[in-house]
């Protein structure tokens, strides 16, 4: 056996210089890339007769993009920084997209056809306020002007070059500006808002020079609340602070008048306070009382009358001027499985311009937003298209009663990802549909052979490439030998689960979780966590695997939790329940029951532990291991780490046998004046470790790795230094790193990096941890490695004792028994700042590891762990070189070929997930952010399988030819011998 391992090591070492790059024709063979934009916040159509029809959108993920209206593809896209929230977009001059972002302080213009930035200007003001962007038709010296209210100041900016033409401050304290209105054809703007919550303020301002024309104010003792709706260019509708009285505020010709109408006068059975749905439709507005949407018309004389009460979920779009003085608006209502899209004229409720009914996928949930756009049909009548945003953040274009295209933009905001195996290929399960017939198979191989023998024409090469890319083999719905085909199950912020096929990235199923659906009991549900719940193998293969989704009703930590179980093959919700307790932590335990359901502990905010699944069997297993289960909690806001053991009963009078109390065992209190927790990281629970020994070839020595699942890496920085890089001097900044045993609370190792600062990104694997931070003294980023070795087992070195098995290396270890560790560490400079860091993981843990670094440029860079070896020295000895030790350098190299995302970018990269394939050499890498990227990655090359371009046909033909040649020569020689004998 050891010799085989020596051979294995030899194999691994012989492949020490892996070529990580790929050839151009290998792009897309194992990787796929999908681009998303996130939930659309605002959309502006650009449908001029000339040029491509497109829609400009801004999203909640700070993306500005233009989409092709025919297919929904992205023309161009800009991802702004995470604190650069888009406040508004307009199209100016028919060729610029003007965006206001970063709380109204940055105004940018982008060229509409290609997305290049034309100009940028920054707008400053005295204090933070609501940001409004209004396109005007005012022309100053041939410049079109946009008017922006932001940071409590009114700005007029030229569309051509972004120059601020004038700005205007308002003297009134606490003015909350609600609207900036330019009545059509006028040269002034109204700025209206509330001051001190009981005064209505109106300013009339000359749009050409910012001169104040008029200022009126009116007091209303009831106060104002919420949003306002504009019903004409000089009339607003608002609600009083109780939400029971409608206020029609008119400021016609500068005379402010407030007219009150109690809602109960309009709607007889109005049960509670109403909410205004902000809109700007002529003479019409909508309010919402509970789930009922009420449309109210404001007549010319100022009377309010209810035109419709809609009991179904309704979304209202903004007004669209279709012709002189005529406004249309879109309305979408749910009715069972269908949705009804209605386009109405603003002044005529009864006359529908368009009424369409479309069957909608139930998994998309409710409609959140509607944007309509008109076009002129060939017969001169108006046609309408509607862009709708659904509850699951997907974006759909409806036209002529059908869904023209849809985009699954919910995938731009993945919270958590897990994987699931596909069904096993059985005799009964027919996969013949995707199977090729013999002729095609032969044809394919002949083509390949031609390619190998360089006989292929360009068309053949194209055909070969197409065949390779569209290989049905990789997108089958069954498990494969190498474990490449899996389901990636992703939970998105919208509460939807997606199952993506790793072969081609298509969505196998999607499920809008009912448990994470907004309901009476659960007003603001959020998904928290996704765990594999049941992973059947061996004896439970008949069961389908399932995942556990944990959520919570509301953002506070004591909100009640919700859980649901979802079948990973079919995507059906098996069961779901609202919990009576809250969910603060989800701890998967290393035990499974007889149906391979994993035991989970859910810790609530009162530090009670709840065991799932709630079966007697689970409690039996749990009771057996009861005394060995601990948990810890890191309270990062007050700098305390606490460890707990479980008590056999819940505190208080809860008669629940699945509930367990906890008692505090240890606590580590970090001094809050000098340390603030910025990062914690632990080992992955399912990581496979092949060996506990680290071989040191130099002197044929062995060191024992300290491999423990109960290790926690904690990084703290000086509280002053927790801000931006460069905000503190090196003297008052430090980074302290701890390695803590979470069972006993014992601090195994502590290191202080003086003059260093966060942000800290770290990854923990086997017995080492690599972390990344900024060194203020060197003005560079650094990566450090700490390797931990167990000194108490170091004397297991007698070969004879090992041969006969007299050693304690495989006996179970308790955290209470050992304490002797040695650490080796080293720091290296690194050029990039990074967004995420992960490490490759393989099935058996034999293959050497590489770090996967999500760079600031949204790419994934592979870096061999050997570069982060603490034993690197300036002049390694011959033996060390053979072992693969790289000579010491002060910085880590960035090899351009080792970007595993090659030329692609995973915009807004947030996480990198590695999943082992069955093939030991290969790991599956999934990077997600706004975009998704998936690839296979072999850290030491695929030493255990033939390369993809290996020609089986060539091999077979060679063998056949050889056998034939042998036979022929044998016959010939026989004949010759016979002739010789006759002679």
């Amino acid at each position: 056996m050891p010799i085989t391992y020596a051979f294995l090591l030899f194999l691994i070492f012989s492949s020490l210089q892996p070529i990580l790059s790929l050839y151009e024709d290998q792009v897309g063979l194992t990787d796929w890339h999908q681009q998303y934009i996130g939930k659309v916040k605002q959309a502006v159509f650009h449908t001029h007769k000339t040029g491509r029809k497109r829609v400009v959108v801004s999203t909640e993920d700070n993306v500005i993009a233009t989409l092709d209206l025919r297919r929904g593809e992205i023309f161009w896209r800009h991802v702004l920084g995470h604190n650069d929230v888009v406040d508004g977009i307009v199209i100016a001059l028919g060729k610029y997209v003007i965006t206001l972002s970063s709380e109204g302080s940055i105004l940018r213009a982008w060229n509409l056809p290609d997305g290049q930035m034309v100009w940028e200007s920054s707008l400053h003001g005295p204090k933070h306020s609501k940001s409004l962007l209004v396109m005007t038709n005012v022309v100053i010296e041939k410049d079109n002007v946009v008017i922006i209210f932001s940071n409590d100041r009114l700005h007029a900016v030229s569309c051509i070059d972004g120059e601020v033409l004038w700005n205007k401050d308002f003297e009134v304290e606490s003015l909350e500006v609600q609207k900036v209105i330019q009545p059509p054809g006028s040269n002034f703007v109204y700025v209206v808002g509330f001051a001190a919550s009981s005064h209505f303020e109106m300013y009339q301002i000359n749009a050409r020079n910012g001169e104040l024309l008029k200022h009126e104010s009116a007091a209303f003792s009831g106060g104002f609340s919420g949003e306002v709706s504009l019903v004409s260019s000089e009339t607003l509708v608002a609600l009083d602070s109780t939400g029971l009285i409608l206020l029609r505020i008119s400021f016609h010709k500068g005379n402010v008048s407030i007219q009150q109408t109690p809602i109960s006068n309009l709607v007889e059975d109005s049960p509670g306070p109403a909410v205004i749905i902000p809109s700007s439709i002529m003479e019409l507005f909508a309010i919402k009382i509970n789930a009922v949407t009420i449309f109210i018309r404001v007549t010319g004389t100022g009377k309010l009358e209810v035109v419709e009460k809609a009991n179904h979920e309704t979304a209202v779009g903004d007004a669209l001027s279709i012709s002189e003085g005529q406004q249309a608006f879109g309305l979408v209502q749910h009715a069972g499985r269908d949705i009804h899209l209605t386009v109405k004229l603003a002044h005529d409720w009864g006359g529908d311009l368009l009424k369409e009914s479309i069957i909608m996928d139930q998994q998309r949930g409710l409609i959140h937003k509607v944007f309509i756009n008109n076009y002129v049909r060939t017969d001169g009548s108006y046609g309408f298209r509607a862009l709708i945003v659904m509850e699951d953040h997907s974006l759909l274009l409806l036209q002529q009663g059908t869904i023209v295209w849809s985009r699954e933009d919910g995938l731009a905001s993945i919270i958590d990802v897990t994987t699931s195996e596909l069904p096993v290929e059985r005799a009964g399960v027919s996969v013949a549909k995707v199977e090729l017939n013999l002729f095609e198979w032969l044809k394919g191989h002949m083509l390949k052979l031609k390619g190998t023998l360089m006989l292929a024409s360009p068309e053949d090469i194209a055909a070969i490439q197409y065949m390779r890319l569209k290989s049905s083999e990789k997108s089958k719905m069954t498990r494969d030998h190498n474990g490449f085909r899996k389901l990636l199950i992703a939970l998105t912020r919208a509460g939807k689960l997606f199952a993506l096929h790793t072969g081609d990235g298509r969505i196998v199923w999607s499920l809008l979780l009912q448990s994470l659906h907004k309901s009476e009991a659960c007003q603001h549900p959020i998904g928290l966590n996704l765990c594999p719940w049941q992973v059947p193998h061996h004896h439970a293969l008949d069961e389908n695997p399932s995942v556990l989704v944990v959520g919570r009703c509301g953002p506070s930590s004591d909100a009640p939790g919700v859980i649901s179980f979802v079948d990973s093959y079919t995507g059906k919700e098996l069961s779901s329940s609202s919990l009576v307790h809250s969910v603060a932590q989800v701890i998967p335990l290393p035990y499974t029951d007889s149906t391979e359901q994993r035991l989970h502990l859910l810790i609530d905010a009162d530090k009670h532990a709840h065991l799932y699944p709630k079966t007697p069997e689970a409690i039996g297993i749990f009771r057996r291991e009861f005394s060995n289960i601990y948990w810890y909690s890191v309270e990062d806001d007050n700098g305390i780490i606490k460890g707990y053991a479980l008590k056999s009963k819940c505190d208080g009078n809860v008669a629940d046998k699945f509930c367990f109390g906890t008692r505090e065992l240890w606590s580590i209190v970090l001094p809050s004046e000098s340390e603030k927790i910025v990062a914690t990281v632990t080992r992955k629970l399912n990581e496979a470790v092949h060996t506990q020994a680290k071989l040191i070839a130099a002197d044929q020595d062995v060191m024992y790795k300290y491999i423990s699942r109960n290790l926690l890496f904690v990084a703290t920085v000086a509280p002053k230094a927790s801000g931006e890089i460069g905000s503190v001097t090196p003297e008052e900044s430090w980074l302290v790193v701890y390695l803590i045993d979470t069972v006993t609370g014992f601090v195994l190792h502590r290191v202080t990096h003086h003059g260093s600062q966060g942000p800290v990104e770290a990854v923990f694997s086997e017995n080492w941890v690599v972390y990344h931070y900024f060194n203020l003294r060197a003005h560079r980023y650094e990566m450090s490695v700490i390797e931990i070795y167990d000194q108490s087992r170091a004397d297991n070195k007698d070969v004879w004792k090992l041969v006969v098995g007299k050693h304690n290396l495989t006996s179970p270890i308790s955290s209470y028994s050992r304490s002797e560790v040695v650490t080796k560490s080293q720091s290296y400079f690194f050029t990039h700042s990074l967004k995420a860091i992960a490490v490759t993981s393989t099935a058996k843990g034999i293959t050497s590891k590489q770090l996967l670094i999500g760079t600031i440029g949204d790419q994934v860079l592979a870096l061999d762990k050997r570069f982060l070896d603490p034993r690197r020295s300036v002049n390694p000895t011959q033996a060390e070189r053979e072992e693969g030790t790289i000579p010491l350098t002060d910085s880590l190299p960035i090899i351009p070929q080792s970007y595993i995302t090659h030329n692609l970018r995973v915009e807004g990269l947030r996480g990198i997930i590695t999943v082992p394939a069955e093939l030991e050499s290969t790991t599956l890498v999934f990077a997600h952010g706004l975009d998704l990227f998936f690839t296979h990655f072999a850290p030491s090359r695929t030493y255990d399988s033939l390369t993809e371009d290996f020609s089986c046909a060539l091999l077979l033909i060679t063998i056949v030819v050889l056998v034939a040649a042998i036979f022929v020569t044998w016959v010939l020689s026989q004949r010759k011998e016979l002739q010789d004998k006759w002679r």
Partner: protein, 179 residues
């Protein structure tokens, strides 16, 4: 022999037939060469055959020793080859090492066969055999030593512990920053 007689018959002046065991002076008129005494040779027929046998067994013994020493040359050559091969693991060094191991083993298996032709109840084959075995064992040792220098022998603690899985942990602890 016949040829010699033929030569003799065709007018050679004299010839000594060493196989002529007759004790009497040569039947021909040519006297024995000076210093040649027929008396020293065994007198009777059995003595003659014994003498013959002795010579043969001497020769056999000599040959056996030669055969027994043959692996020594081999050993030297192997040593040289091994020195040439170096101490890194690659195809050549592995080939050399395995042939160095295989040759002595196959030779040892065929010890009986190698000494078969020299088998004689007069000849003491134990010595050559022992030498042969010793030399082959030497060769084997050289091969093993080479194997060891290549690092392919499990003589270090590291060879035995690398196959051991990591030890189980008694306790389990989970948790982290509250969600």
């Amino acid at each position: 022999m016949e040829k010699g007689k033929g030569v003799m018959g065709s007018g050679r002046r004299w010839a000594v037939d060493f196989s002529d065991n007759s004790t009497a002076p040569s039947s021909r008129d040519i006297p024995d060469p000076p210093g040649f005494t027929r008396a020293s040779v065994d007198q009777d027929d059995s003595a003659v055959s014994r003498q013959k046998k002795d010579a043969e067994s001497n020769w056999k013994a000599q040959k056996a020793w030669e055969v027994a020493q043959a692996p020594f040359k081999n050993l030297l050559m192997m040593g040289f080859m091994m020195w040439m091969a170096g101490s890194t693991v690659h195809l050549f060094s592995i080939g050399i090492t395995f042939s160095a191991l295989w040759q002595p083993i196959s030779a040892l298996q065929g010890v009986g066969k190698v000494f078969e032709p020299y088998k004689d109840n007069k000849v003491d084959l134990l010595g050559p055999k022992l030498l042969f075995i010793a030399l082959n064992l030497g060769g084997l040792a050289l091969g093993v030593w080479k194997l060891n220098t290549l690092g392919l022998l499990p003589t270090h603690a590291s060879d035995w512990v690398s196959s051991l899985p990591p030890a189980q942990e008694v306790e389990y602890s989970g948790g982290g920053i509250p969600l």
